[in-house]
Amino acid sequence: MMQQCGRLRSFQIALVMLAGALALPAAAQTRGGTVTLGVEQDIAGFDPLVVGVYDTGQTATARLLFDTLTKLDDNAKPVPSLALSWSPSGDFKTWTFKLRPGVKFQDGTPLNAAAVANSFERQLDPNAHCRCAIYISFIDKVEAADDLTVVFHLKNPSPNFAALVSGTYANWPIHSPTAIQKLKEGYNRHPVGSGPFRLKSWQSGDRLVLERNPDYWDKDHVYLDEVVIRPMPDNTARFASVQSGETDIIWHDRADDILKAKKDPHLAVHEYVGSGATVYAFNTKRPPFDDVRVRQALRMALDLKTFSETLFDGLWQPAKDPWGPGSFVQCKDSGTLPYDPEKAKALLKEYGKPVAFKMVVTATPRGRQIGQAFQEMWKDVGVDMTIDQIDQTALVTKAFRRDFDLTPWRIVDAADPDIQAYANFHSGSPVNLSGYSNPEVDKLLEDARNSGDQEQRVADYCKLAQILNRDVPWFWTLDNHYFSISKPGLMGLPKQYSDIIDLSHAWWEKKKS
């Protein structure tokens, strides 16, 4: 155990020393130019207390507006950003970050340990009722030891904590406490961070214009003058926009277009196979899903291979477990149930009662398509499913209130499975949507959470996958595979970790006229 920690620490020190070298350009970057990014949804704002969670448009924008304590390099290892160095306690329950000196927020106020602590404390404040708190509930408190030292006290050991703090989903970006205090309710739409770009204008529903932050601490490695973020909810239109050059890069998830773009010499496809999967939760507190046979039957009636190959051109592969190909958890045997409609029928016959239920889908062409595909596969084994279409926001609310029979969910790519696995599968978690409670599962989750031994953790998670695949309180359909499509000249894009498009150090190969 101690040996393990020692190895980790020395590795981190080596990384800190390497960091300067990593930031150096490999090729001659061109300065200037604008990049227009097309994202899927309209951007609601950036105050985690108001919006709760970020979607892909918000994470990409937050990557530019804000800094995080660390960032991930190409091997998914944390490297310095706001924090110059960090060290865990022996039990991985206390993490100390040393901050980069002299960093200022875009409003001119200093980014110090107190500001970092404030960014987290306000989310954890029970009176704030922040939906975001679920994802950092393992943090007990954050304190500023001195001006440049932040100490995170965790409720449980977290060996991968330094990697976790790198993502720009709602929790981790560092906000200016002065701006929050000054703007109050208005802060959500007037975010102030310390990132390489700052907000220039925002026409709601249309575009968000960011301009280069002239006082950025790493301004020599910021090349673009402006980044424009445009919400484009319509798939066809978004793809057409990058084809015609209205946008320079788009977030995209439509298989036909991605295949087309791969063949198109005027387009470049960036892809990243992440951890996690698209998952679905059965409400095991209600019939018919309180019976394991029904859940197994439903899973076995799904022909995920055909589903993946036809509707998604095989770009997203059937998922074996909720960990995914991009995770460090790789299992020899996840115990995935096979596609076996005959067995499914037999199980349903054993159950004896007719099975009818409602499945929640997002009110989008994609949601309806998936819903109808499942509907037919289940109809083939004699199950009657009704589609319940709702908007994304309403979906989350409904799920949290357990007002569903079967709901889609997502386990997003993350440096460590712990947070989401614990939140989704532990019987004591508020996000245990399925209502599934199994002491063995709880034990495995706690064991994996409290252990600093990665091999032991992998074994725990694989055992967990087998139990979950056997009891089917949740099931997984497709892997997480993230795509963006750009013009070929757009360089300097790192891997799309957690589906975050990172333009902070992007540059144009040739000057864009």
């Binding site: 309209d42 609601a44 704002g45 105050d47 108001v50 919006v51 709760g52 009722h129 922040c130 939906r131 309710e185 208005g186 959500n188 739409r189 026409q203 709601s204 529903g205 249309d206 575009r207 919400p231 484009m232 909810p233 319509d234 066809t236 239109a237 978004r238 057409a240 926009s241 084809q243 015609s244 209205e246 009110a363 908007d391 926001t393 309403a394 989350v396 609310t397 949290f400 209130r401 508020p430």
Partner: protein, 315 residues
Amino acid sequence: MPGLIGRRLLYLVPVILAVTVLTFLIANLLPGDLAIAILGDQATPESVAALHQKLGLDLPLWQQYLHWLGGVVTGDFGRSRNNEVVLHAIASRLPVSLELLVFAEVGGLLVGVPLAILCAVRPGSLFDRTVSAVAFGSLSVPPFMLAILLIFLFALRLHLLPATAYVPFAEDPVGNLRAMVLPGATLALLEWPTIMRVLRSDMITTLQEDYIAMARAKGLSSRRILLVHALKPSSLTLVTLIGLNVGRLIGGAVVTESIFALPGIGRLLVESIYSRDLVVLEGGVLVVAVGYVLVNFVVDLLYAALDPRIRHGRA
């Protein structure tokens, strides 16, 4: 004339009041608790009650209405679920919709008026019959079908025009106009048939009047007769038509703005419906409905100003 304005104004006030009442009722009678919608999973009985009190939802309905009306009159439409000031959201999107409506109406007139004149000159000719048939056919095309067809042809196949490249006019005037071509054309293609059909039959009637025959006898050129003597009286019809079309165009704008990703008021309304954001929906519907009433009020006055019979006769 002042008397007429007074009478119309007297009618306008109750109509607008009724519009506000109805908007308020629709928004408040739709099922779903605003507080629960805002709080989401954080909705506990206590937090819901607290928010009810904060938002005034615990008051009787009529008090809530007065409170809301008071806010609206002073420009306070409340805040969206994302804490955006609703008045700002509406104000920033209104110009986009207005530009679209102008594009549609001007496009419709540019196509409709010349065709109507050419048809009216020789009613029953092959040209007239063809144009009338096409116009009639166009009336049966739903706006979204037309939008898809235009995107398919001009954006996907020919790559001539952008489908969704909206930029603010101030930022890039040429880009703005280019981006408005397809959505504008979608609505204009739905507009010209009504303009053409109404104006055509109007002019056919006018051309049979005695004073046209007199003008002909006086030896005036037929172009002058057509454009001055025949078209002028029909301007009344056009004014009325444009007023009426506004309502229909708003319906078309909802669909068109959604498909072409224009940040207009129509898309704002649709998005507020999808995200169950009642405050935005309420504000948007009110602005659109009052706008419609006002446009028709102006049209009525214009009509009266242009037509002496109405000015002096019974209103």
